[in-house]
């Protein structure tokens, strides 16, 4: 082994250690018997996992988070799929501007974006908190949807659509019977990615939550301000598991390389 690759190995090990070690601590603490976060924990118990279900706020905000993530993702797909299609198939004036506009939520710092949404949706438009939260999430996950759908459209030969049209299918019909069935894996991936993003979002939600309407991550943050017990660790482990399962589904439908290319 030469020096260069040895250095690389050490470097990778360090990086992974830093990434994984906190997760190990959290996981260990979640199943510990102590009343506070302690590593290594003393004893083994499921009581903190059980305690999650005792905290009524967690249950309620979990439901809201799921609702917002599911509806938001559906809305974003409804807007994102046609938008991605038009952006990738048609040349028109202002195309670059639109592309930039759709992708801007990733470029603007999320906290700035969240604050502007608060100003606009709640203060100016006087929308209810729940509606604002839904709109905010929809907007913030739209770029992911468009990115993923665009890249699966790009790998779909346009002449296949032209073939369908030449055989007598109109443009819209062609989209539904030819294009959509061939980009389903992209749609699934976009859905999951958007769902994870919405479910875990803090910087947008923190501005768009109010009395009675909050999301799980926000609730977790306020919980740790007052309690030091490992309930949060247990909850974190469950959330990690959920994300891992979803990523596993993506890996199965598309391969993770889909996002790195």
């Amino acid at each position: 082994m030469n020096t260069k690759s040895r250095f690389l190995t050490i470097f990778s090990v360090l990086v992974y250690t830093f990434l994984i070690f906190p997760l190990v601590i959290i996981t260990a603490a979640a199943f510990g018997a102590n009343d506070y976060l302690k590593f290594p924990p003393e004893g083994f118990s499921f009581k903190w996992v059980a305690n999650i279900f005792e905290v009524e706020m967690f249950i309620r905000t979990f439901k809201i988070s799921i609702e917002i993530a599911v509806f938001g993702t559906f809305l974003a797909l409804l807007i994102g799929i046609p938008a991605a299609y038009i952006l990738s198939r048609y040349q028109f004036k202002g195309r670059n501007f639109l592309q930039g506009l759709f992708l801007s939520p990733v470029l603007i710092p999320a906290i700035v974006f969240g604050f502007s949404l608060l100003k606009f949706l709640i203060i100016k438009m006087q929308f209810p908190v729940y509606t604002s939260l839904l709109i905010g999430h929809t907007v913030v996950i739209l770029p992911y949807i468009i990115r993923v759908i665009s890249s699966s459209l790009e790998s779909f030969d346009y002449s296949i659509e032209e073939a369908a049209v030449s055989l007598g299918a109109g443009r819209i019909k062609t989209f539904f019977i030819i294009v959509l069935p061939n980009i389903t894996s992209g749609v699934i991936a976009a859905f999951i990615l958007a769902f994870i993003n919405s479910f875990n979002n803090v910087p947008i939600s923190i501005f768009l939550t109010g009395p009675g309407v909050s999301t799980l991550p926000i609730q977790m943050m306020s919980y740790v301000e007052y309690y030091f017990d490992p309930t949060i660790a247990a909850l974190s482990v469950i959330l990690m598991l959920m994300t891992a399962i979803l990523m596993f589904i993506i890996e199965r439908t598309l391969g993770l390389s889909f996002f790195t290319k």
Partner: protein, 353 residues
């Protein structure tokens, strides 16, 4: 009357004018090929006929109706793409049935017609396969069957064989021609393979920079090309500047720059210009031994330059008084570099452009 008629059509991509005042007539039942170098506008012409692109100017008349503004899906034309463009999520059967289903054809009839068509293209046993489970040649035949099963008014093919190997190309082109004749379907065929195009077409349109330079039967284009470009494209590799001496009904006389006399058949004169180019294929020039022939008409003296082996013949670069000429000679004898030779250019083999 022509079935298809493009009248003074212009097409541009932005500022790039690809077709300018383009005209094309095609008779019912004919297979017409568009032949030309890369980028000359063949695909553009085909896509214009198919309705995928719009003309800036001009008219497209089909079957005495104005088709200029008819959208693609209302045209009833079959289109075969270079990439085949099969529907990846549908089986061979469903690919071919696609057009019929859209036309609300009864189920029983769909089944009958699809299987008939698959039979014609020799894929009856493959109806349950998916496109990715087929070879290139099989995919191409599915694409053909899919376009033909709707009994299109016109069949458009864009280099349908270019992704296949040489042997299969020959086999498939015979197949395409056979089906085309059997179904008597008017066809426009785009290719840049000369042999392919000459072998299957009723008419060939040789295109250059968005203009049809010569539209005629393969035989006429091969023997008597109308322009310098076409001559060059179909293998007339030698051009000699000539000026007119006397024109007669049968045989006309021209002079080369160095004063040699050239007699040519008057039917081979394709331009009225005083100074004109005499074109001839390398394989039509005869090498005659110096001093062997007394007549000086249609001859040139030259010195053999480099030679190459073509398999059936040798090809020489011969330096003559009117420039370098490519000349083929048989394999009985290989002339050496620097050897003096006399070239004979038969009058019936020369074409004036």
């Amino acid at each position: 009357m022509a079935l298809l008629n493009l009248k003074d059509v212009s097409v541009a991509y932005g500022d790039n004018v690809v077709l300018k005042d383009f005209n094309l007539n095609i008779k019912k039942g004919d297979l017409v090929s568009l032949l030309g170098p890369s980028g000359c506008g063949k695909t553009t012409t085909l896509r214009l006929i198919g309705g995928f692109i719009q003309a800036n100017k001009g008219k497209f008349i089909f079957n005495d109706k104005d088709y200029t503004k008819v959208p693609v899906h209302k045209r009833e034309f079959g289109f075969v793409f270079q990439s085949y463009a099969l529907f990846p999520h549908l089986s061979v059967f469903d690919n071919v049935a696609f057009g019929l289903k859209l036309r609300k054809t009864p189920k029983g009839e769909i089944k009958k017609r699809v299987m008939e068509m698959l039979d014609i293209v020799g894929l009856a046993d493959y109806s349950k396969r998916y496109p990715k489970e087929l070879s290139g040649g099989q995919r191409q035949r599915v694409a053909l069957a899919r376009a033909l099963v709707i009994k299109p008014d016109l069949l458009l093919l864009d280099e349908p064989l270019s992704n296949l190997d040489a042997k299969l190309r020959v086999k498939m082109r015979v197949g395409i021609r056979k089906i085309q004749k059997e179904l008597n379907i008017t066809t426009v065929y785009v290719t840049h393979d000369q042999e392919e195009c000459f072998s299957i077409s009723d008419k060939v349109a040789v295109m250059n920079e968005g203009v049809i330079e010569h539209l005629d039967t393969p035989q006429n284009i091969y023997d008597n090309p109308k322009t310098e470009f076409v001559a060059n494209f179909v293998g007339f590799e030698n051009f000699i500047d000539l000026s007119l001496q006397s024109k007669n009904e049968d045989i006309s006389t021209y002079n080369s720059k160095n004063g040699r006399v050239f007699k040519v058949k008057s039917t081979n004169i394709n331009s009225n210009k005083e100074t004109i180019k005499g074109a001839i294929r390398p394989e039509e020039i005869k090498i005659v031994n110096k001093g062997g022939d007394n007549k000086d008409e249609n001859t040139l003296d030259g010195i053999v330059g480099i030679s190459t082996f073509l398999g059936k013949e040798y090809q020489y670069m011969v330096d003559t008084e009117v420039g370098k000429l490519l000349v083929n000679g048989n394999t009985n004898k290989r002339y050496k570099e620097g050897e003096k030779v006399k070239l004979y250019l038969p009058k019936e083999k020369m074409v004036l452009v």
